[in-house]
């Protein structure tokens, strides 16, 4: 029983990590309908920037309580500038190009960022400093630590914050207008370029936070970490209904749970024929099954077929 509980906790923590990355992903998608393949790399850059500034600040004797927020802000600012730049250089010129053109530039951006990071931070794996005391809490025989609780709470908070922005503010209204119909939004006086830039910066700032939390949780940062995170976040976002903030959260948590329960129990369920090596297969089968019955994801709107 404590094993099952532990697996659920593992799944929720892993799922919150996916959700954190997926929120930024889906944010951009919701407004622009663009699969931002480079999002995972922005997450990585966020983690790396935070790592560098943390190491530097701690090295100068700045106390952690001060160094941490400064580093988080620096990483967020860095990623926002990066996100703005990516949109300006690689996506904006292609706004009226065929659908797949920005997908290719996104792949290009992702390769460039990865190799730039390799030049700057080197090829090795970096240990990420421990940010808070890692006291384990015991819940019914299962163990969870502080940073994991923070990740879970943070993911929920960010989702709520984003929803408030999108649904309660003027900016949010402009975003929704742009998502609905760019031309009409423009006619109504919405500065499309500004809204899209802000969306990208918001998404990239979130990516920085996600990167820091991932690195803090696993205690490592390296230039290649963005790829797999981006992939999982994409999967999670689609599972929940891409473009939908609550969907990203739900999809992330579900994917985490599916993975951990899958890894934990496939072996027993199939009499040892399949083991945890089929964890991803299991996750993708669930995804396909969901999409067969709900082609727009769990919480995705049922789009009228385009005529």
């Amino acid at each position: 029983m404590d094993i099952l509980l532990q697996q659920i906790i593992n799944g929720l923590v892993q799922g919150s990590v996916y959700a954190l990355v997926a929120l930024g992903y889906t944010m951009v998608y919701g407004i622009l309908g663009l699969i931002n393949f480079a999002h995972g790399e922005v997450v990585m850059i966020g983690a790396m920037l935070a790592l560098s500034s943390l190491t530097a600040l701690l090295g100068w004797g700045v106390p952690l309580l001060l160094a941490l927020p400064v580093s988080v802000v620096l990483a967020m600012l860095g990623c926002m500038v990066l996100g703005y730049g990516i949109e300006r250089i690689a996506y904006r010129p292609l706004r009226h190009a065929p659908r797949l053109a920005p997908l290719i530039t996104a792949i290009g951006v992702s390769i460039v960022l990865q190799n730039l990071a390799m030049m700057i931070w080197g090829r090795e794996y970096h240990a990420f400093p421990q940010l808070i005391a890692n006291t384990p809490h015991n819940i019914g025989g299962a163990i969870i630590n502080n940073i994991q609780i923070i990740i879970f709470v943070l993911a929920l908070t960010i989702m709520a914050g984003l929803m408030a922005i999108v649904h309660r503010t003027r900016l949010g209204r402009a975003m929704r207008a742009v998502a609905e119909d760019q031309h009409a939004a423009q006619l109504m006086g919405v500065d499309i370029n500004r809204v899209i830039s802000i969306t990208f910066m918001l998404g990239s700032g979130l990516a920085a936070i996600a990167g820091i939390m991932v690195s803090a949780n696993y205690g490592l940062a390296y230039y290649y970490m963005g790829f797999i995170l981006g992939l999982k976040a994409f999967t999670a976002a689609v599972l929940g209904g891409i473009g939908n903030l609550r969907g990203a959260m739900l999809g992330g948590l579900l994917l985490g749970l599916i993975e951990s329960l899958g890894a934990g129990y496939i072996g027993d369920l199939t009499g040892g024929f399949f083991g945890s090596n089929y964890q991803d297969v299991f996750a993708f089968f669930v995804l396909i099954a969901v999409l067969v019955f709900r082609p727009s994801g769990l919480l995705g709107e049922r789009l009228a077929e385009r005529a």
């Binding site: 892993q14 990590v17 205690g219 290649y224 951990s260």
Partner: protein, 397 residues
Amino acid sequence: MSQHSMRSLLSFTIVPVLLSVALYGCEKSPTTGQDTSGDLVVRIGASAPLTGPQAHLGKDNENGTRMAIDDANAKGIMIGGRKAHFELISEDDQADPKTATIVAQKLVDDKVNGVIGHLNSGTTIPAAKIYSDNGIPQISPSATAVAYTAQGFKTAFRVMANDAQQGHVLGEYAAKNLGAKRIAVIDDRTAYGQGLADQFIKSAEANGAKIVAHEYTTDKAMDFTAVLTAVKGKKPDLLFYGGMDAQSGPMMKQVKALALKTKFMTGDGGYTPEFIKLAGAAAEGAYASLPGVPLDKMPGGKAFADRFIAKYGPIQLYAPYCYDAVNVMIAAMQKAGSADPAKYLPALADITYDGVTAKIQFDQKGDLKGGAITLYQVQHGKWVPLETLGAAKTASN
């Protein structure tokens, strides 16, 4: 429209320009074996992943190879009565089998006298065929798959124990010396991790231990809590991981975080400073093996390590093996009095050389003969050698 045609013009000129520059680059690549000064030019090819997830290990390999070549040039080695000048041609194989064959062919075209590489088994196996077809000796510093030397190529050698040799020693040590009765195994489903884990299981079972769980992860994973929790449910007294440091480090940390009370053991892929760095305090007490004898127990080993660290930073993993591989190759050339692959290949096959990692001799297949394997444990944040084993017993399997 004019802008449009300008653009198309631009993109169509880029291609020929790039190609012609490439052509120029290739033309410059030397085609004769002689320097103008009359020195004998010996080209050593090297290949490892220098981009992608294993780039840190690939770079380490390149550094080890480069240091051996710099040393040889500084020493002024004579081959067949002529002063030899060694050149390194290092190529990125991206850990991709297809790219590896392209790189192998390129090295052959560059008329290398021998090759140090590749890093992974998956790249070494297909590349070996090309080296063999062209009669170029190849020494892999790190490929451990049994299949590499089982292909029957006379040109294929390695200065690393293979999975069977290492897994055998590890399984025996776990069951006998550490007294493990219930063993859990996790592997990363790469050719290396799976190969080593399978051999470990065979040997551990043969020595009376029971495998209570066999779980899997990937070489890109960061989160192992799910499989570790599954392992915890089986209450093992030893956990073996077949895979690299980038996973075993964080895994070790998660083992401690989940209060999984078990001994932790891994192969050469875990014997790195990165493992300790990534696992932090949790690394304490972990076991790992490394083929060969500890560096500071070998003549010249300590000096090598000091010089390497001063020049390139900490040794990641296989740099000493690359260093040995180059030196073995050069020693064979000296013995044969020629850097011609066809002439020094027989000398290489029956060489005896005291390297910094071990005394190097090859068996019929090109595997390391009677390779010693050393077990290490993390004590006070450092890898400390415990015991060197297996020198006599590795012939089995």
